[in-house]
């Protein structure tokens, strides 16, 4: 295992058995999450990013099952942890900020009490110590500790609840924080300062972050590295600046083109043609070919493998194999 | 038509509800076709009393020499009929009042809720007994009315809450913007969303009514027919000494078992209804 990587996901596959068939939500995915960086995972709904992230905490929801693969953290495969070690791992090694914060908080408990309960489930600390730490973290996310610790979730706005969730995720000094669409359902101004806070946390506490989003504009600001997923597979990985300036996979290029922006020429914007893939009935060959303007006959027959096209760059596209670059 | 086929296909697919369906069908056959197939003979025949089960008398004979099984079959007709009628009355009144209350709101709502709450606070079974004693029950209809008098309030409240929450849903709000008529909103938009709830309520009310009716008949308050299960239980206790007479066990326990099986069948069947009626659960 490479020392620079906090987490190495190798050949992970997760399946969902439904009445109408079996879905490969995550299909032989290998991904590195380097220490001390913000890695973003971008993809449309149904691309598999949330399922992949839930595997890192081993909380894939039924009827999903992990079919094969390993997730190495500091050299150990956490999928093979026993129940005790797994409990330690969850929240103390890796924590998560869920989408739509409102659902993650217990509506009948005060915030302060929930924080105490969370910490006590993992380590022995006195209530005063926990309160002190909680107050520090709440301060950090620009909330008033006195008011928030005594409050119930329904007394807070969406933006405040999301900040509370970030504070929660930091309670046990985790090595990795996973953020699943942390700002959907929040307004732009709230979104802006949530990301400000996340960047501050990342820099000052040196916490590795994995950010999941369907919006590539949002990750442009925050991420150091971007991984793009489509139909359960990784299609491209690379450094943020390089990805935007020189995308190697047509889907990545499509996502960047399709993102509405206040700066570009309104007539320039193009959306990706077609609709999201039906995971129960994927096309043969490359799953993206029906929507790709560069698709060749080979693309319709052969599934491309993810290969290293440059140092640190991975792409799964036949066009790259031949050495052709996308403009 | 396609809806009906789909409905039964899903019921049959779910093992529980399939068993429930089979049990209910057996009872329905027992109640409808049974009396024609097995002719009732209530003439007293002391020489043949307390006979064990045999090919001639499938469940043996009772304290007066009459066939137990045939009595059971004839009794089922009475019992199921009363249960069905009570469930219909309850459903009609409950759904109507609940919908009106929820949709119209305001003072009508307040008035209906006042009456409903009044009924709910009074304990049902003791009043039922008193009512049964006062209004002499001579036929299934009056019996069913008495039984439903206390089950409509619960349904009214439940339907009202469902309607109130549905009223605010986006797909109902848009009906107003599109100028859809009130009958359309009630019957095509709101009702289908509560059909599953109403069906399950229907079955549960029927179940409750049957149990209640057997209880009342057992107490001898509705003796208009000698073969219904409640009356059988009444006679079992008064004439054969109940559980103290081993010879009378079959006569005592057969209506009890029938009742238990019917309840089981209803609950199992209801289990599959939600899945069958809700397109989202069908996948």
């Amino acid at each position: 295992m490479n020392e620079n990587n906090l987490i190495e996901i190798r050949d992970l596959s997760i399946e969902f058995k439904l009445r109408s068939g079996t879905i490969r939500a995550v299909d032989h995915v290998s991904l590195d999450i380097p220490r001390g960086q913000v890695t973003a995972l971008v993809g449309e709904s149904g691309s598999g990013k949330s399922t992949l992230a839930s595997a890192i905490l081993n909380i894939v929801s039924a009827p999903g099952t992990i079919k094969n693969g390993s997730i190495f953290i500091n050299g150990q495969d956490m999928l093979r942890y026993n129940a005790n070690r797994l409990r330690q791992h969850r929240w103390a090694d890796v924590s998560m900020v869920f989408q739509a914060a409102q659902n993650a908080l217990n509506p009948v408990m005060r915030i302060g009490d929930q924080m105490i309960e969370t910490v006590l489930a993992h380590q022995k600390m006195s209530k005063e110590e926990i309160n002190k730490k909680a107050s520090q973290l709440l301060d950090y996310v620009r909330l008033e500790p006195d008011r928030i610790l005594k409050a119930y979730p329904h007394e807070l706005s969406g933006g405040m609840k999301q900040r509370v969730m970030i504070a929660f995720s930091l309670l046990l000094d985790p090595q990795l924080v996973i953020l699943d669409e942390p700002t959907t359902a929040l307004d732009v101004i709230t979104q802006d300062y949530i990301f400000d806070i996340l960047l501050k946390v990342h820099k000052e506490m040196n916490i590795t972050m994995l950010l999941l989003s369907h919006d590539i504009s949002v990750v442009a600001r925050v991420a150091d590295r971007i991984g793009v997923m489509y139909a359960g597979k990784i299609v491209e990985v690379g450094e943020t600046f390089e990805m935007f300036e020189n995308a190697k996979h047509p889907y990545t290029a499509g996502l960047i083109q399709a993102a509405p922006s206040i700066l570009d020429d309104v007539n320039d914007n193009r959306s990706i043609k077609g609709s999201s893939p039906n995971l129960l009935n994927l096309p043969p060959g490359c799953a993206f070919h029906p929507r790709c303007e560069f698709a060749t006959d080979l693309c319709k027959q052969d599934e491309p493998r993810a290969i290293s096209v440059d140092s640190g760059r991975i792409s799964a596209c036949h066009l790259n194999e031949k050495g052709e670059m996308l403009a | 038509m396609r809806g009906m086929i789909d409905f039964f296909r899903i019921i049959c697919h779910n093992k529980r509800s399939l068993i429930g369906l089979i049990i209910l069908v057996i009872f329905i056959l027992m109640a409808t076709a049974g009396p024609f197939i097995f002719k009732l003979n209530m003439t007293v025949d002391y020489n043949n009393r307390y006979l064990s089960p045999s090919l001639e008398h499938w469940l043996g004979t009772d304290f007066a020499g009459r066939d137990t099984f045939i009595q059971l079959v004839h009794g089922s007709k009475e019992v199921l009929l009363v249960g069905l009628l009570a469930a219909f009355f309850t459903l009609f009144v409950g759904a109507l009042l609940g919908t009106l209350s929820g949709l119209v709101g305001g003072r009508l709502d307040a008035g209906i809720m006042l009456i409903t709450n009044l009924f709910l606070t009074i304990p049902s079974f003791p009043i039922l007994i008193i009512m049964a004693a006062i209004f002499s029950i001579r036929d299934p209809i009056s019996f069913a009315l008495v039984l439903s008098a206390w089950s409509w309030p619960g349904l009214t409240r439940a339907v009202r809450s469902q309607i109130i929450s549905l009223k605010e849903r986006d797909f109902i709000v848009i009906c107003k913007v599109m100028g859809m008529s009130k009958p359309h909103i009630i019957f095509k938009e709101l009702m289908p969303s509560i059909t599953s709830f109403l069906s399950i309520s229907f079955i549960m009310t029927m179940r409750g009514a049957i149990t209640g009716s057997v209880g009342i008949m057992m107490l001898g308050l509705a003796p208009y027919s000698p073969t219904n299960w409640g009356q059988m239980l009444n006679l079992a206790v008064s004439q054969t000494g109940g559980i103290f007479n081993p010879l009378g066990f079959i006569y005592l326990f057969s209506p009890i078992l029938c009742l238990a099986f019917f309840q089981l069948g209803s609950i199992f069947f209801a289990n599959g209804i939600d899945e069958a009626l809700n397109p989202r659960l069908r996948g």
Partner: protein, 338 residues
């Protein structure tokens, strides 16, 4: 010549009950809003949650009766119309809601949901005509071949497809104006442009006016390219004008803050350090709005006048702005560093 629709000094005040014995507190969701629409035009109504834009949409579609002011449709006060006139208004002003899943009856197929309004208003006469009309509508919104979607239930379709169905339903009554309340916010970013382009096409080809309500300035800019934009804050319009003018030279400090906060798909610009031109980040509660200009607690350029008197919309440069010190506000650029 009266405009298609006009909001004349409309205020919406809701009473929030505080417990059983407390006096109800009045909440001003909209204050003195003045807006008018011509046939076929597009207006983007922009603001964050709690600013009153959804309430405005509900007032326009007749779901809320204004507490003060008048809603005029083709010159007549909607709430004083006779039955026939009101019926015409109802048909002419339609709504596309944000949550496409909640906006469709989960128990009814797409065919049923689309044929209900057509049959209600007797647009067609036979079963065959209904079927043809529904197929035609599905084709218009890009759901082809229609036969593939007709028998589906809402949960069997994707968010983008459902949103198209909502549009099909809205145009089925041949309306003159459609209010679209955050129509793409629940759809993936990569699929939003397709829906917006559809709305643009419907506007051009069918001459339907659109009020596009959103908190996302990027999409607002796209859809209302040749139209107008109005920015709302705590129930009032703070800036208004043609989209081009409003975005080329935004004058109200709130709008400038919004523009600075919009994510940009360009890492060089996005990562450039900057702070929002705001004094405080949290939106004041609508139950207890600030005195004078409701934006003053967060405004970098606020003075004592701002705390005491509320400004009114005045023409300034090429747009109309509600700000006492609009001349003090600097010109906005993407890299506005504090």
């Amino acid at each position: 010549m009266s405009s298609l629709l006009e909001l004349r000094n409309i205020s919406m005040i809701f009473e929030q009950k505080s417990g059983m014995l407390g006096k109800p507190t009045p909440i001003s969701a909209m204050t003195d809003v003045q807006l008018s629409f011509e046939p076929g035009e597009i207006l983007a109504l922009v603001g964050e949650s709690g600013c009153g834009k959804t309430t405005l949409g509900k007032v326009v579609t007749g779901l809320h009766k204004p507490s003060k002011g008048q809603l005029l449709f083709q010159g007549k006060d909607v709430w004083n119309m006779n039955k026939a006139e009101f019926s015409e208004y109802r048909q002419s002003v339609q709504l596309v809601q944000q949550d496409s899943y909640a906006a469709l009856n989960p128990m009814r197929t797409i065919f049923q949901s689309l044929s209900d309004p057509i049959l209600q208003h007797k647009f067609v006469r036979s079963r065959k005509e209904v079927y043809e009309r529904v197929c035609e509508l599905l084709n218009t919104v890009g759901l082809t071949p229609p036969e593939q979607y007709i028998e589906k239930y809402p949960h069997q379709m994707s968010g983008g497809q459902r949103q198209r169905v909502l549009l099909a339903r809205a145009i089925s009554l041949k309306p003159k104006l459609i209010v679209a309340d955050e129509p793409v916010s629940m759809i993936d970013v990569s699929l939003r442009m397709a829906i917006l382009r559809l709305m643009s096409t419907l506007n051009k080809n069918l001459g339907i006016a659109f009020i596009y309500i959103t908190h996302d300035l990027a999409t607002a800019r796209y859809i209302a390219q040749h139209g107008r934009m109005a920015v709302m804050y705590l129930g009032k319009i703070v800036e208004q004008g043609s989209v081009h003018d409003v975005l080329a030279a935004p004058q109200h400090p709130y709008l400038q803050a919004l523009l600075s906060a919009v994510p940009v798909p360009n890492p060089r610009i996005a990562k450039a350090k900057r702070e929002l031109p705001l004094k405080s980040l949290d939106m004041p509660s609508i139950t207890n709005p600030p005195s004078g200009c409701s934006f003053h607690p967060r405004c970098l350029y606020a003075s004592q006048t701002c705390e005491q008197t509320a400004p009114s919309l005045m023409p300034s440069d090429k747009t109309i702005v509600s700000c006492h010190h609009v001349e003090k506000v600097p010109k906005w650029t993407i890299a506005t560093v504090k």
